[in-house]
Symmetry: C2
Subunit: 362 residues, 2 copies
């Protein structure tokens, strides 16, 4: 396998954009990434689109050529990848594979979701499709509330520790002009938030957003994919042996570290999948950033920068855009001199899909 | 790139199966293919699932790990590919790429769709999402009726020639125990069928079916992928310069032929994407089986065997299953001694995605 570099990144702001459709969001990000890479559309050999539920949110399927055609990319292979909230992490993994294996030289991977045009109840129904609809029969806040309660009971994790994750991510997001909800909050505010699914308040939950992100990949460049792995697990939360674990994350991290020749201790900063605050806490344990059960205390310590973009919590969570946005944010932070070895962790559902990517400056 | 062989194939019958859900259909095909290949689940390194609209038809998303978990495949990368009616042709293309480039040694690719649980009007709405919903604003029979009228006007193609495609495919499907509609018809019956979208009668349209198919790929084996290509085009029919053409099919065929080192004349038999009878006629022209404009006469001549499975017309068209089912059928026909060089052609929408695969016995 040869090196793969992120030679261009592009993002829309995340937010609620009544006047922008899914195609316009995706095309904006793709065109920004191509411009950033100084690559012409004619040089692109394949288009990878991560999107969770465009057909359900917007009524449009066949989204990969639909977007490609709007970006001057008609003709090349254009493929949509769907693995719930990890859709664009998975698209990125396949795009990386194509360049690493020499199949393609220049590819574009984009993630997009348009969500805010649907009423809240319908958004909840669509998100619930990422779980096992026959077995789980719960909303995502309810599913992650079960996970949070299990972690609190087993390890003594507290609501205050979860709130600290929210406070930190809002603090970071406040400084990110692309973030959806730029608002400083306190632990007290977070704890007093509306209870969504006990023990998760509104402030433990990520946002429903519109947005897109794109990355151009090629074999040469300074900001490289050093390690990457995609793994899977059972979709039904009830099928899991231990609610406090995300085993697919642990396995994908182990593989990505091995490929990169690094350990968890080497990772300087990360963008983690904080769909709920408890998810960031458990992810840090599975990634080996701290011992199992100590994610809550580790979050409070802020021992290393996590989610400097604001994370899904403040930057926003246009589901299908998130995986590629994380990669773009890690690259952006390296470009800004905020570290030379970063990690992106993208989660699908309650852990049935995981993609972990280690990126470094060479 | 190294050789890639189809070492196992598995299919469900296609039809209306009220008691079988999408997971059970897919798992049945995957288990049949693994058994056929004498490969254990533990040997499989990645799972590729082609599915068009499972979330819309069944309310379940995140289908790749959902199916993988039911087949003993939890843990490995499990990815859903969506490119409308070419979803599983596209999944197959990516699975082939992973083995050809040496990323994986043994992979499983499956295509599945569960459609018959929805009322006909809703099925029509879901299928229409494969076109440009803002621009096209027509059902798929209406879109292909425009294509048929353009071909009739330009080249003098007749309703009788289209009916001949239906008669042939029903004759083949009558002999296929896995086919959905095993019924012999005459040209007169086809012409007298209920008019769906002038000039297309019921007999010019493929079926709404449930079903799944799976193939196991590995580097060694007698039935190999000799050439394969995926291409794209604009999604909106109105964006096309010439309604009588499927340029993405022509380009993918040229690439697949070049990779295989063959010409159209060498192809002994084919499974073509006859979502409508006119689509088979135009596909034969784009594949170079006959000169442009002569597809109608060529169909009547039956100069080489096309759609011996019965095609989408009689075998059935569980949309996301079709691409992999075509591959499995071409391999099955080679195994049965019905030729040593076959082709599968899978089309998405009105031609925005095309995958052409040349398979041969070595």
């Amino acid at each position: 396998m040869r090196p793969v570099a992120a030679i261009g990144i592009g993002k829309t702001a995340f937010g609620a954009f009544a006047s922008q459709g899914i195609r316009s969001l995706a095309a904006t990000a793709v065109e920004a990434a191509l411009s950033d890479a100084a690559v012409a559309a004619a040089q692109v050999e394949a288009f990878y689109l991560g999107n969770f539920a465009g057909p359900s949110f917007t009524g449009q399927s066949h989204l990969a050529p639909y977007v490609a055609g709007a970006c001057g990319l008609a003709g090349i292979p254009a493929t949509r990848f769907e693995d719930a909230c990890a859709s664009s992490g998975v698209a990125f993994h396949h795009a990386w594979q194509a360049v690493a294996s020499g199949v393609h030289d220049v590819v574009v991977v984009c993630g997009v979701e348009k969500m805010t045009n649907q009423p809240t109840a319908r958004v909840g129904e669509i998100l619930a499709m990422a779980g096992d609809v026959d077995v789980d029969r719960q909303t995502f806040p309810e599913l992650f509330a079960r996970i949070a309660r299990a972690h609190m009971e087993r390890y003594g994790t507290t609501r205050e520790q979860m709130a600290a994750v929210a406070v930190k991510n809002h603090r970071y997001g406040y400084a990110n002009p692309y973030a959806h909800l730029r608002k400083l909050i306190t632990v007290e505010q977070a704890l007093a938030g509306k209870m969504i699914a006990d023990p998760l308040t509104l402030y433990d939950c990520s946002l429903v957003s519109d947005g897109a992100a794109a990355v151009v990949l090629a074999p040469e460049g300074r900001f490289r994919v050093l390690g990457i792995a995609q793994t899977s697990d059972h979709v039904a939360l009830s099928a899991k042996a231990d609610l406090t674990r995300l085993p697919a994350v642990e396995r994908s991290a182990e593989k990505a570290y091995r490929m990169a020749g690094v350990t968890a201790a080497d990772i300087q900063f990360a963008e983690l999948h904080d769909c709920f605050t408890i998810a960031e806490i458990i992810a840090m344990e599975e990634l080996g950033f701290c011992p199992r059960g100590e994610g809550g205390a580790y979050a409070v310590s802020e021992a290393r920068p996590i989610n400097r973009s604001g994370g899904l919590k403040s930057k926003g969570h246009p589901v299908g855009a998130t995986g590629v946005a994380q990669i773009a944010d890690v690259v952006g932070q390296m470009r800004a001199g905020l570290g030379d070895l970063g990690l992106a962790q993208n989660l699908g559902g309650t852990g049935a899909t995981s993609v972990v990517t280690v990126l470094g400056k060479v």
